[in-house]
Amino acid sequence: MLSTAPMRTIFLGFACNNHCAFCSQGEQGAAPPGPAPQREGSFARGEDVAFVGGEPTLSERLLSAAADAKKAGARWVLVQTNARRLCYPDYARALRAAGVDALDVSLQGSTPAMHDYHTEVPGSMAQTVAGVRRAREAGLRFGVSTVVTRSNFRHLVEIARLARSLGAEALSLAEAAPYGRAARSRDRVIPAPELVADVIPAVSRESARLGLGLRLFGRSASPAADRFFAGLGERNETPALPAAPAPSRATDEERAPKPNPGLGERRVREKISGPALAAIFPKLFAPEGTETNG
């Protein structure tokens, strides 16, 4: 029987080893780790508990906190993670031994190039994939969370297939929200909802075919999927800064407005043809045998 009570989320700090383009927590994950907030309090019997970050596996308190939760009778202990640290088999086994039941794994692409673009960490997908494999070997179950962006929304069916092939039981698609880093690069990151909506039916069909639970933008298409997902966690609610001017390959000269553009227009009654055109097209009027233009 599934719990109808909301999952309790326990925040273990902003520190993260990915640097996702859409991260709602902004640059806080890159800050040097400080003392993590102590918000666990006491656990209650029968609770469903999710540890979130940042990247909670970077917190050395995770193992003991998960063990505490389980000892207190928590029924379901979930860790929201990029799973990179789990590529080390000892760590995956330690999580399971501490009482963690399942993972909510962040996967942002169906290919390494796509995923690593989002995380801005080369090689991160390879570690994530290795991590979920070690997790399964250790007896951990998992769902996959994908933040839908302009660069991955066309590939959601492929992501669903990859997730299932890795052993995921559910897939959660979340909106890229204009907070944190996504607020600073919203044009590059946040897709048009109308275009995303066009691909959702295919994802739903494919997930059903694969037997993959699906949670769409916070709403569960299959209630059993909910227990694999902890939500987007704490946002950086600081008002978004204006987008920094993005460097481009354009030169300053190319960016500058042209002076007096209206002067390029010459409205006259008398039209000029004949010899005057030879001055514009000199190579067309060059004597026979001369090199022509272009």
Partner: protein, 327 residues
């Protein structure tokens, strides 16, 4: 290859479009110079020419220029606002001379928007009359009717409404061209509010492309980066020219004179370096001045599939498709 040569016949116009990239000069192409241009295109084995302007139909030389180009084996098209084609005797004289392919420039199916953009009240009505006249002439001549639309801030939200309207009203239309506004020269530099944001036309352009494609018609899109038209990347003018190593030559009736364009890559943003389509994408025209590189997002789609599709299509057949051949 389907290299096309552009011939500006005049640079004056009976409209005053807010985004015109080739505003008026005092020059007018005479028949002697036109023949030299045509001979040059024929020598270069170009597929055809496009008569443009200004408003080329204001030139008294169109029938003679057309007849000469046809005699040299060139396919002839005209980009026109339709104001003269709206007069049936003129339309017929062009058709009889061998001018059988028309790109009618019309930017909105909303008359008040069209008239505002062109700066001339009644221009929508005339363009619609031109489409009606060409539809009639298509029963006698192998006429291809296309629509050219400049994407701008005032039609960015209803490009899809445009195609539904025009196809519904004029089923003879076989092909659409969307040109994103060229802000680098001309009046758009003064009317800076006319330049659209890519994000603002992304949805309506995609719906328009899907509608036209589903109708069995064809289209091309110019100056739109592939991350805003991914599903139809093979229909990007720049992408096709890059893949096919095509060129185009424009004879401008101003001090620029003859420009032979062989590079169709505009400027890019840093994110483009990660995009799987980077080397077949034109990027953003006039980046940084009007258009924002921060709007570009990398794609991770299959480039080879797009290349194969471009190479498998026959531009000659597509571009010169007469109205009678359309569904």
């Amino acid at each position: 290859m389907a290299n096309i040569g552009y011939m500006q016949d005049v640079r004056h116009c009976n409209q005053y479009c807010r985004f015109c990239s080739h505003p008026e000069t005092e020059y007018m192409l005479d028949v002697e110079t036109a023949k030299k241009q045509i001979d040059d295109f024929a020598r270069r084995e170009y597929f055809g020419i496009i008569l443009t302007g200004g408003e080329p139909s204001l030139s008294p030389n169109i029938p003679e220029i057309t007849r000469y180009a046809v005699s040299r084996g060139l396919h002839v098209r005209m980009i026109t606002n339709g104001s003269k084609i709206a007069e049936m005797p003129i339309a017929r004289s062009f058709a009889e001379a061998g001018l059988h392919h028309y790109h009618i420039s019309i930017h909105s199916c909303r008359p008040e928007v069209e008239d505002y953009l062109t700066g001339v009240k009644g221009s929508f009505e005339k363009a619609a009359q031109a489409l009606a006249n060409l539809s009639l002439l298509a029963k006698e001549f192998p006429i291809a009717i296309n629509i050219n639309t400049v994407i701008n801030a005032d039609n960015a939200d209803h490009l899809d409404e445009n195609v539904r309207y025009f196809i519904g009203k004029f089923p003879e239309i076989s092909h659409f061209v969307w040109n994103n506004l060229d802000p680098s020269m001309g009046r758009a530099e003064t009317n800076r509010d006319t330049a659209p944001r890519h994000r603002n036309f992304e949805v309506s352009l995609n719906r328009a492309m899907r509608f036209v494609h589903a109708s069995g018609r064809t289209f091309r899109v110019e100056r739109v980066p592939l991350c805003f038209m991914t599903e139809f990347a093979h229909c990007s003018t720049e992408t096709r020219k890059i893949i096919k190593s095509e060129e185009r030559t424009v004879h401008f009736l101003d001090e620029k004179g003859t420009i032979r364009q062989t590079d169709f890559r505009h400027l890019k943003a840093p994110a483009c370096g990660l995009c799987s389509l980077d080397d077949i994408c034109g990027g953003i025209f006039d980046i940084g001045s009007f258009y924002d590189p921060a709007e570009l997002a990398p794609l991770f789609v299959d480039k080879e599939a797009i290349v194969r599709k471009v190479l498998s299509e026959d531009d000659h057949a597509t571009l010169a498709q007469p109205a009678a051949a359309n569904p």
